[in-house]
Symmetry: C2
Subunit: 123 residues, 2 copies
């Protein structure tokens, strides 16, 4: 059992994105990872996929999900389920920070470009 | 890929607890479950365990976790990691609703009493 205050965890940054790993193999978990990200207005994740299932809880803001050539809008208090290996990109097309919590069915989380190259994340 | 608004999902109730399943085997996921629960002041989950790992994100309020005979206080913006098979009970000992999001490394989630009897949850 492992309890921690999220404010005490380190943050990492990608362009336009502030990231915190809330649970994972370095934080007491062995089957799950949980991340929280704040994406600035106009910013986006790179197109990518994971080697595990992902569930995204939209905590604040609004955005757009590009997946399999389709674009789907979403807003706060929505949930997105992404199968393992599903290429996707999330863009904040609103005026406020887009705050997401993402749960993954593995730890660590393998992350890849659509072409299959491993993305070495800074966390 | 599956996107839904949480407000459109049905809620279930246990005494003092309002529950929503945000992701799981009936909502597009096959490896993860995600639940959201609001526990009233003074209310508690029954003592129980799961057959999978659980990560609890404390969204609002404060509470107490009883696990393995130990009692640990926690508050909003904390994270709790519970290994598979770990008996636990969560109590809201604050004055406001205790709002939790829980991610599980399986779907459906097997839930059992400390004695090993299956708990048939109403969701």
């Amino acid at each position: 059992m492992f309890v921690h205050r999220n404010a005490q965890l380190p943050a990492a940054e990608l362009p336009g994105i502030v990231h915190k790993t809330l649970a994972g193999n370095n934080l007491g978990a062995c089957r799950l990872s949980v991340w929280r990200q704040a994406i600035e207005p106009g910013a986006a994740t790179p197109p990518h996929r994971h080697d595990c299932e992902e569930v995204v809880l939209v905590q604040a803001g609004r955005g757009r999900l590009l997946v399999d050539g389709r674009s789907v809008e979403f807003e706060a208090d929505s949930t997105v389920v992404l199968p393992a290996g599903c290429d996707h990109q999330i863009t904040n097309d609103g005026d406020e920070p887009l705050v997401l919590v993402a749960a993954f069915s593995a730890t660590p989380v393998g992350t890849f470009t659509p072409g299959g190259a491993s993305i070495d994340l800074p966390w």
